[in-house]
C-alpha cells in the first residue's frame, strides 16, 4: 500500500494529515499490518489536550494492545466515533481511518515529522 505523499509520519507509525491549523491523525498501513486484526480502539474526548509524543488512546488487536501516540501538540477537536463500532476499518483502510482531529498549538512541530519517502524507508 502506498503512503500518501501529503501526510506526515512518526517513527511510532502514526500519520497526520494537515489542513490549515488542524491535523487528522491515524496509524499507518505498516502499523495495522503489525497489529493484525484490530478489535478495539479507545480514543480521548473532544477537548483533551495532547502533547507531542503523548498517548491519546489505545488500539487492540486480537493478539496485542498498543498505545497511540500523538504526532503533534494541540487540542482534540473531533473524534471519529464510528471506529468504535467498526475498528476493522483500520485494517481495511488505514490511511482513510482517521481517529482524532487536533488543532495544532505549534505548527512548526509537524514540519519536523517524516515525509512519505522517509517513512517508507523506515519501514522497508
Amino acid at each position: 500500500m502506498a503512503y500518501p505523499s501529503g501526510f506526515k509520519y512518526t517513527k511510532d507509525h502514526e500519520w497526520v494529515d494537515l489542513a490549515g491549523d488542524t491535523g487528522r491523525i491515524g496509524i499507518t498501513d505498516y502499523a495495522q499490518n503489525q497489529l493484525g486484526d484490530v478489535v478495539y480502539i479507545e480514543l480521548p474526548e473532544v477537548g483533551a489536550r495532547l502533547k507531542q509524543g503523548q498517548s491519546f488512546g489505545t488500539i487492540e488487536s486480537v493478539k496485542a494492545v498498543s498505545e497511540l501516540y500523538s504526532p503533534v501538540t494541540g487540542e482534540v477537536t473531533e473524534v471519529n466515533t464510528a471506529l468504535k463500532d467498526k475498528p476493522e476499518n483500520v485494517n481495511k483502510d488505514p490511511h482513510g481511518s482517521w481517529m482524532i482531529a487536533v488543532k495544532l498549538a505549534n505548527a512548526g512541530e509537524a514540519g519536523a515529522l517524516l515525509d512519505a519517502t522517509a517513512y517508507q524507508d523506515l519501514v522497508k
Binding site: 493484525g36 478489535v39 478495539y40 487492540e60 486480537v62 494492545v65
Partner: protein, 349 residues
C-alpha cells in the same frame, strides 16, 4: 513468526479472525509438529501409565485417546496431555512442546517402580497436522482409504493419507470436529500440501498459533503455562473429570483426595466482560469486600466467533457462581465482568 519452545512458528497466515472463522465454519489446517510424543511400552506399560497419569487408562480401548494430567505429588500440573492406547501394552502420550524434557525425565523416573515398562521420547519421529472444522472429514476422506465415519470422537486409526503411512485421530484443540494426523516428519510437507489441495473446494486455509489460542479459549480448553501449571491443582482447574478416583494410586492421588474431601479455596472460572475492552492474561481482578486483588487473569481475548471479550481467572470459590460480577483492572480502568459457564462455545452436534 515467533519462537515457541525452540520452534519458529507463524502466529498467523491470513489473519487470526479469518483463520478462526474458517475453523468454525469450514476447516483450517494447523502444523502442530512442535507437540511432543512420549511412548511407554512393555509388559507392565498399563501399570506405568496408571502411575503417572491422573485419568484411568484401563478404560482405554485400542486406538482410543483420553485427556489427562501428569501431576506433581501435590496434585498440581507438571503437564496436561493426551494418552492413546496404541496396543494393549503400548501407549502414546502427546505433551506440550515446552515440557517435553521435563515430562520425559519425570516419567522415566516414576515408572521404574511400575515394573517392566520403558519410556521413549519419540518427538522427533512425529510431525503432527491438525485439520479442524466441520468440513474436516470431507476434506480428508478423498486422501485416505480409512473410512473416517468409523473413527469416532477421541478414537484413532492407522492408514495412509496421500500415500503416507499415518495415524489419524479424531481429536483437536479447537472445540470443533476434526482430525489430527501423525505423520513421519520427512513426509509432513507432502501431506500438508495434499490436505490444502483437497480442501480448496471448501476454502480450507492454513492457521497459526494465534487462531489456535483463540479457538481453544472459546472452547474453554486450558492452556499449559497460562491456565494450568505446577501451582494449580487439577481440582482448582475444575478438571476433576480427568482424575480416575477409583484407581489405587497415582502421582498426586493423596493430595487430590484430601483436596476433594476438604474443598478448594479457589477455582478457575470463565468470564465475559460486561463493558467494552479486552481483559488479557496478567490483568488483576477485584471483587467486592477485598482490598487486594482476588485473582489474576490466566487467558483472555476478544473472540472472533462470539465477538465477546472472554477469559479465565482463578477466583475464591465464594465468587465463582455464574452471574457473580467483578472488576478487571484494564491498565488502571476498572471494567465490569461476570462469571459465565464454560465452554463459551459449544459446537452443534
Amino acid at each position: 513468526m515467533v519462537s515457541f519452545a525452540g520452534w519458529e512458528m507463524p502466529v498467523e497466515y491470513s489473519g487470526i479472525i479469518a483463520e478462526h472463522l474458517a475453523v468454525r465454519e469450514r476447516a483450517g489446517l494447523f502444523d502442530v509438529s512442535h507437540m511432543g510424543e512420549i511412548e511407554i511400552a512393555g509388559k507392565d506399560a498399563l501399570a506405568a501409565v496408571q502411575r503417572i497419569s491422573s485419568n484411568d487408562a484401563s478404560k482405554l480401548q485400542i486406538g482410543q485417546a483420553q485427556y489427562s494430567g501428569l501431576m506433581t505429588t501435590k496434585g498440581t500440573f507438571v503437564d496436561d496431555l493426551l494418552i492413546y492406547r496404541l496396543a494393549p501394552s503400548h501407549f502414546l502420550l502427546v505433551v506440550n512442546a515446552g515440557n517435553i524434557e521435563k515430562d520425559y525425565a519425570y516419567i522415566a523416573g516414576e515408572i521404574r517402580a511400575a515394573g517392566d515398562a520403558v519410556a521413549v521420547d519419540a518427538s522427533s519421529r512425529y510431525a503432527l497436522l491438525a485439520l479442524q472444522g466441520p468440513k474436516g472429514a470431507d476434506v480428508l476422506q478423498p486422501l485416505t482409504g480409512v473410512d473416517l465415519e468409523h473413527i469416532r470422537y477421541y478414537r484413532s486409526a492407522h492408514g495412509e493419507v496421500a500415500g503416507v503411512r499415518c495415524t489419524i485421530s479424531r481429536t483437536g484443540y479447537t472445540g470443533e470436529d476434526g482430525f489430527e494426523v501423525f505423520v513421519p516428519p520427512q513426509s509432513a510437507d507432502r501431506v500438508w500440501q495434499a490436505i490444502l489441495e483437497s480442501g480448496k473446494p471448501f476454502d480450507v486455509i492454513p492457521c497459526g498459533l494465534g487462531a489456535r489460542d483463540t479457538l481453544r479459549l472459546e472452547a474453554g480448553m486450558r492452556l499449559y503455562g497460562n491456565d494450568i501449571d505446577e501451582t494449580t491443582t487439577v481440582l482448582e482447574a475444575d478438571l476433576g473429570w480427568i482424575v480416575g478416583w477409583n484407581k489405587e494410586d497415582f502421582l498426586g492421588a493423596g493430595a487430590l483426595r484430601a483436596q476433594k474431601a476438604n474443598g478448594t479455596a479457589r477455582k478457575i472460572v470463565g468470564f465475559e466482560l460486561l463493558e467494552r475492552g479486552i481483559a488479557r492474561s496478567g490483568y488483576q481482578v477485584h471483587v467486592a469486600g477485598r482490598s487486594s486483588a482476588a485473582g489474576t487473569i490466566t487467558s483472555g481475548t476478544q473472540t472472533p466467533f462470539l465477538k465477546k471479550a472472554i477469559g479465565m481467572v482463578y477466583l475464591p470459590v465464594e465468587h465463582t457462581t455464574p452471574g457473580t460480577e467483578f472488576d478487571v483492572d484494564i491498565r488502571g480502568r476498572q471494567t465490569r465482568a461476570a462469571v459465565v459457564p464454560m465452554p463459551f462455545y459449544k459446537r452443534a452436534k
